[in-house]
């Protein structure tokens, strides 16, 4: 029902204005002098302001990377906090140029909303947290377990799907809000608590004794986070997609914020193409030759951003897991720049 509604809105938008879809987004952004980036605003590690009012997080850094590639200045971003309900409409209406808001890439979102997902920048999925004292090693041992879960979410559906597929009996205990579900788990009403893995880590910190709980290795659903742009502007689509690819490639070649100046002198043809000392790939995107240099120098490569915002040195301590490069057993595989 909601999808239908949003689709109707999208159709109305296309009929009445037409303007946001047809004007070249890159030109609009350049003329405005800043990028409007739609983001969460309340998700630790991904997008929220800190106590000084400075936006921080993984999604936020990606927005900054796009701004760095365009303006050579990562601060030229206006962050627009969007709720789950109005995020797509805001993008359709042209309120934001790009939506980087922990949004799962699904077929319907890619097709029915007049939007395009550019590429997966973070592989998320639903996981479980249990008490260490239960001595569980796998989610498959959760038969007959009471699981606390938030009501009416895809999380709840995934949970029952998983238990049914594995022929396990489920006693789900549902709550209206995440906080209530967590509280119930903490006070011992449930054996396990389930939500997206990226949130399990921050949720664990809210427990009375975080050290007594452990995140199980199983990921039971696919939640690939992608950046979204409007249909009909392929140049802008390419820019957003290749900014993420550039950061992944930079990590793959060991190009970091610190060593970028030395790497620019490298003889490796792949690095030369990436950093623009050979070929003209940045200009083909509508950017400058040194677009990757700008991104890495001002924001960092993918791994650096990951570690800085959600990695081991942050309170969240999310491990790379599926988000490691393909060379290190993960899923991130960026096409070559050539």
């Amino acid at each position: 029902m909601k999808r239908v509604f949003v689709a109707i809105l999208a159709a109305c938008a296309a009929l009445t204005t037409g303007a946001p879809a047809s004007a070249a987004t890159l030109d609009t952004v350049k003329a405005r002098g800043s990028l409007n980036c739609g983001t969460n605003g309340q998700l630790p590690g991904f997008a929220m302001p800190d106590a000084q009012g400075v936006w921080t997080g993984f999604d936020v850094e990606l927005c900054r990377a796009v701004a760095a590639a365009i303006f050579n200045d990562p601060s030229k971003v206006k962050f627009v906090a969007l709720t789950a309900k109005d995020r797509f409409t805001a993008l359709q209406a042209g309120d934001v140029d790009v939506l980087i808001r922990n949004t799962t890439w699904t077929l319907s979102r890619d097709t029915q909303l007049g939007l395009n997902a550019t590429s997966t920048y973070y592989y998320d999925g639903q996981g479980f947290i249990v008490r260490k004292s239960l001595k569980l090693n796998s989610a498959l041992e959760l038969n007959d377990a009471a699981v606390c879960v938030q009501q009416g979410t895809t999380t709840e559906l995934n949970l029952s799907d998983y238990f049914r597929a594995n022929k396990m009996r489920l006693k789900s205990v549902t709550f209206a809000t995440l906080d209530e579900a967590l509280k119930a788990y903490d006070t011992g009403r449930c054996d396990a608590y389930t939500t997206d893995a990226s949130q399990l880590y921050s949720v664990r910190l809210k427990l009375a004794r975080p050290d007594e709980h452990v995140v199980l290795p199983e990921i039971i659903s696919k939640e690939p986070f992608a950046a979204f742009v409007r249909h009909g502007d392929d140049q802008w689509f390419d820019i957003v997609r290749w900014v993420v690819f550039a950061m992944l490639n930079a990590e793959e070649f060991g190009i970091t914020k610190a060593n970028i100046d030395e790497q620019a002198k490298s003889d490796n043809p792949e690095i030369k193409r990436l950093l623009g000392t050979e070929g003209n790939f940045g200009e083909a995107l509508g950017l400058t030759k040194d677009w990757v240099v700008r991104i890495v120098k001002l924001v960092g490569n993918y791994g650096e951003v990951f570690e800085r915002t959600i990695g081991q040195n942050t309170p969240l301590k999310i491990s790379r897991g599926q988000n490691a490069l393909w060379t290190k057993g993960g899923l991130h595989y960026a096409p070559p720049v050539r």
């Binding site: 109305c12 106590a51 805001a90």
Partner: protein, 387 residues
């Protein structure tokens, strides 16, 4: 004739000749025990209620005091301070968290270097409000002009910036916290009173166009929830106008709130207008006063006085309704607390509770002051009713 003179020694039998002996006064109803009996236990049922209330207090107040003060953590730089420890096995409110995030609650993501501008705005607003609300203040006309004409312009320039005079532009997306709550509430209140009066007059007008417009406006706006108005303003509007024309997000919310508050205020004022007897209008007409002077000198002063409790009621409700702007992605005061409480650096079991307790205290204090001020005004304006 009879002899009226009475011999001195022959007294009348029923007249006492000596004063009665002094007796101790009968026990007066009084003393603490009597007070307790008449006020707390006059009937068995009331006695039961008293006991229940006392029980309720015993159950709630000591734990609350313990949570908010005794077990509370006042100092600290990270979540470790508010986690259970040997010294404090069951920590109460984590005030250290509020201290760390306090500036965010006030300014939101407003750029650090420009926050002095917000401070100046707060000072001007406080000055203007005091001048306007203090009934014995000198030159109140000038105060009103300052509040309604100078302050909005100066605040706008100050807060959103004016590069030509060296104030860098600060986009409203970066406004937040108490700043946004005060801006939204004061715009709502300041616009709604005059607009409400006009709408109320329009609704009672004999001119059909004006009356129909007022009725339509009031009924339409009152018929939908505020959240719908805000959602329409912030989500739907940009779909129908080109991005270049689409107004600022905060402005959209401000317009939505102002429209909504005006419709409610109109009905409150209309109730006041209804309460003025027809004789007052006729008397004013007989004195040769025109429509506007009748209103200004006779009707409105009386109508507004009787509606003060309702106007204040509306104002307080509006002040709290401003929290709804967070649904359209604007960081008002409550929303900044909502953000802060998910900060992993301060994630503890008590963080959310502390944040909400702080919000509750803030809103209570703010609304309480509004209500006290209104009570004072009412008492003063009701002086004529006292004999």
């Amino acid at each position: 004739m009879t002899d009226l003179a009475m011999p001195a020694h022959k007294s009348v039998a029923f007249v006492r000749t000596t004063p009665a002996p002094r007796v101790p006064r009968p026990p007066l109803p009084g003393g603490p025990l009597h007070w307790v009996r008449t006020n707390l236990f006059p009937t068995p049922f009331n006695g039961l209620l008293t006991l229940l209330v006392v029980l309720l207090f015993v159950w709630t107040v000591p734990p609350l005091v313990r949570f908010l003060f005794i077990d509370a953590v006042w100092m600290g730089t990270s979540r470790d301070a508010c986690l259970p420890s040997a010294a404090n096995p069951d920590p109460g409110a984590c005030w250290a968290f509020v201290r760390t995030w306090f500036s965010f609650f006030i300014y939101g993501p407003y750029p650090m270097a420009e926050r002095w501008r917000v401070d100046v705005f707060f000072a001007l607003l406080a000055f203007g409000t005091a001048w306007l609300l203090w009934l014995d203040a000198p030159r109140r006309g000038l105060g009103a002009a300052f509040f309604f004409l100078v302050l909005p312009v100066v605040s706008f320039v100050l807060l959103s910036g004016f590069p030509a005079i060296g104030l860098p532009t600060v986009d409203t997306a970066s406004w937040g916290g108490l700043l946004v709550t005060l801006v939204v509430a004061s715009v709502g209140i300041v616009v709604s009173l005059p607009a409400g009066i006009l709408l109320a007059l329009g609704r009672r007008s004999t001119m059909p166009a004006v009356r129909l417009f007022s009725i339509g406006f009031i009924e339409l706006v009152r018929g939908v929830p505020l959240i719908t108005v805000l959602f329409m303003a912030s989500v739907m509007l940009p779909l129908f106008v080109p991005p270049a024309w689409s107004p600022d997000k905060l402005l959209r919310a401000l317009v939505g709130i102002a429209i909504f508050a005006s419709a409610y205020m109109a009905e409150v004022v209309r109730a006041g207008l209804q309460s003025i007897p027809k004789g007052q209008y006729e008397a004013a007409n007989a004195l040769g006063l025109g429509y506007w002077r009748t209103l200004g000198l006779v009707v409105l002063p009386q109508a507004l006085r009787v509606t003060i409790p309702n106007i204040v009621n509306n104002t307080i409700a509006l002040f709290k309704d401003t929290t709804l702007v967070f649904f359209v992605g604007i960081f008002d005061f409550l929303r900044t607390i909502e953000i802060a409480r998910v900060d992993p650096n301060w994630a503890t079991p008590v963080t959310s509770t502390t944040g909400y307790a702080f919000a509750a205290i803030f809103y209570f204090v703010a609304c309480h002051f509004m209500s006290r001020y209104a009570t004072g005004i009412e008492r003063r304006l009701a002086a004529g009713d006292r004999r």
